[in-house]
């Protein structure tokens, strides 16, 4: 029968090698994480060591990626910057996932007015330009990295809620969920212990894609001056600090952190699409 055929062919496909771009992107991300963790060991200079005599130096053996206007070593700053640039999106996604998965699951499970209400709320959030919402939150609660993370977390939650809701609706209609109900398990317990864990693969895949987007948004806020501010080291902030130098003909201070952002975001997208493909159907 055809089903048997497909099943029998699966191992062949499973053995097929991962596509080269995914391998490269994955390897690159691993490298970035290692670099961020080991920044104090591998950075040639202290990231905040001001050396006005070397202001806007190009690539030299001392400063492989050049320096900024204050003569701070760009390589060291990019390495240290990776820490907050990677940790902040992680925190933002954790918050957004907590809110979004809860909302989506509750909406799918309870249905009725709860679903309608949550759907309307997410609709409104959807229709409202995300960045504008974030800027509003920051205007009310003041700027800073924490406020940015919370504001973006709130802005991302509806997207995740929607995605979770559609997954949970499909999963909820499967008889194994009915079987738990017939066994006398409470709705909360079914959702927390069985429904959500069965969706985890697909949700994590989605979050990996969102990670790139989150990093980008945070960098944008920092660049606009709403996010991380001096003296913290952040890629978005570095681009902003480096843009004045562009006028003076020095591209590196803006180019180095900008490239870092772009490369990491692209890599996350490549890996994320692959991960969500595999985890989503891997059952």
């Amino acid at each position: 029968m055809t089903t048997v055929t497909a099943g029998a062919l699966a191992p062949v496909r499973g053995r097929a090698r991962r596509p080269v771009p995914v391998m490269i992107a994955g390897g690159f991300l691993a490298l970035v994480v290692v670099a961020a963790v080991c920044a104090p060991l591998i950075a040639p200079h202290a990231p905040d060591a001001v050396d006005l005599s070397a202001s806007l130096a190009g690539t030299t053996s001392q400063h492989p990626l050049g320096t900024d206007a204050s003569g701070q070593d760009l390589l060291s700053r990019v390495l240290y910057g990776a820490r907050s640039s990677l940790l902040a999106p992680l925190a933002l996604l954790a918050l957004a996932a907590l809110l979004g998965v809860t909302m989506g699951t509750v909406a799918a499970w309870r249905g009725g007015w709860v679903d309608t209400l949550l759907s309307r709320v997410t609709d409104v959030m959807y229709a409202f330009p995300g960045l504008l919402f974030v800027v509003l939150v920051i205007a009310v609660f003041g700027d800073g990295l924490t406020t940015s993370i919370i504001a973006l977390g709130l802005a991302y939650a509806p997207t995740i809620a929607r995605y979770t809701r559609s997954l949970a609706l499909a999963e909820r209609s499967k008889p194994y969920i009915d079987a738990y109900r017939v066994q006398g398990m409470s709705g909360t317990r079914i959702c927390v212990r069985h429904l959500v864990p069965n969706l985890a693969g697909a949700i994590v895949g989605y979050l990996v894609v969102l990670f790139g987007e989150g990093l980008m948004s945070l960098a944008t806020l920092s660049y606009l001056g709403f996010g991380a501010g001096s003296p913290s080291i952040d890629w978005g902030l570095m681009v902003q600090e480096g843009q004045d130098a562009v006028v003076q003909g020095a591209l590196l201070p803006a180019l180095v952190p900008g490239t870092a952002i772009a490369a990491v975001v692209v890599a996350f997208n490549i890996v994320g699409v692959r991960v969500s493909d595999r985890l989503g159907k891997g059952r």
């Binding site: 055809t2 055929t5 062919l9």
Partner: protein, 338 residues
């Protein structure tokens, strides 16, 4: 013979399966004949049907031949193959909904092949399609033409699919579990309809051959003229349907009959132990051996071969009376009687 499959073997690339999907399958369908092809999941019955349309599994190695009306399907050039698929053979699948585009009207589904394949004008096609719908027993065919698939029940849709399959006046009909998803009474009605079509074509002198693929041995035995039983990619038995209930020869056929509950007698259905083999199960001797109650040590090394019985040469295109079964014990019996 309208359809004549000879020694068809289909093997997946090494590593994908431990045994061939089909092994030395020989099978024939004559004009005007309804031939049943019975097996459980993984038996290769659907693969056989698809091979008649040269729809082969990806990367598979094929040997043997599939003759339809004297031409080898496996050797056709692309243009001939297209014509073969659109004119000579029609296939009906289990789920009519997946065979139809949900947003198109029933009318379009029917008139499309008529204009494209038969070259009818749009108006003639509509007239013929309406006529076809009436002939498969749908009431109010004009209205049905304007309806979309979701407005019809499964049984009605399967009638539409049958109407479409018959519209190009094929010589050979492949029905792959075509009635399995229907309610039992609807199944009977659809089969009565197909039997009527068969009768009509026989009287018109252009006999329609039907290969009726099903998992339901009692159904095949009750509905078909001749039945082939497949197991693990092989034909293990074939004989005239009316003799099958009374005198199944292969232990697997007997097992299938004994495990199917029946309305007539009170004997408890007797299960066949074990499970149908998957593609990852390999065999050295008879594939049914692990589940066979009458297996002997010699069966472990016996290469299955069709043993003819009751007259005929065992490949199904001899006199209708005969049959064959791939069982070593039968081979012993026939050798001693010869």
């Amino acid at each position: 013979m309208l359809l004549d499959i000879e020694d068809l073997t289909i093997e997946l690339p090494p590593g994908a399966a431990a045994r061939p999907m089909l092994a030395e399958v020989s099978l024939g369908v004559g004009r005007g004949e309804v031939v049943g092809l019975v097996g459980e999941s993984g038996s290769g019955k659907s693969t056989t049907a698809r091979a008649v349309l040269r729809m082969l599994p990806e990367g598979a190695r094929t040997s043997g031949s599939v003759w339809v009306d004297g031409e080898d399907v496996l050797a056709m050039d692309p243009a001939r193959l297209r014509r073969h698929r659109s004119r000579t053979v029609s296939m009906i699948f289990q789920d009519p909904r997946s065979a139809m585009n949900p947003v198109r009207r029933i009318g379009d589904f029917l008139t499309d092949p008529l204009t494209r394949v038969l070259g009818l004008s749009r108006r003639d096609a509509v007239a013929k399609a309406t006529e076809l719908l009436a002939s498969v027993g749908l009431s109010d065919p004009e209205r049905r033409m304007r309806q979309r698939p979701h407005e019809l029940s499964g049984g009605m849709l399967q009638r539409v699919v049958i109407a479409a399959a018959l519209s190009t006046e094929p010589d050979l009909l492949l029905a792959d579990e075509a009635t399995s998803a229907l309610d039992a009474t609807t199944q009977a009605e659809v089969l009565a309809l197909l039997r009527g079509v068969q009768e009509e074509r026989r009287r018109a002198g252009s006999g329609l051959g039907t290969l009726f693929i099903t998992h339901d041995l009692p159904l095949a035995a009750a509905y078909c003229d001749r039945v082939y039983v497949m197991y693990a990619g092989r034909v293990v038995e074939q004989q005239p349907a009316r003799r099958l209930f009374a005198d199944p020869k292969h232990p697997y056929t007997r097992g299938l009959l004994e495990c199917s509950p029946s309305l007539e007698d009170d004997r408890e259905p007797r299960p066949i132990p074990g499970r149908p083999p998957s593609l990852s199960d390999a065999f050295t001797g008879c594939p049914f051996l692990p589940r066979c109650a009458r297996a002997e040590a010699e069966c472990e090394s016996w290469a299955p071969v069709a043993v003819p019985f009751g007259g005929g040469d065992g490949d199904g295109d001899g006199p209708e009376e005969g049959g064959s079964a791939a069982c070593r014990r039968l081979e012993l019996v026939s050798r001693s009687s010869a």
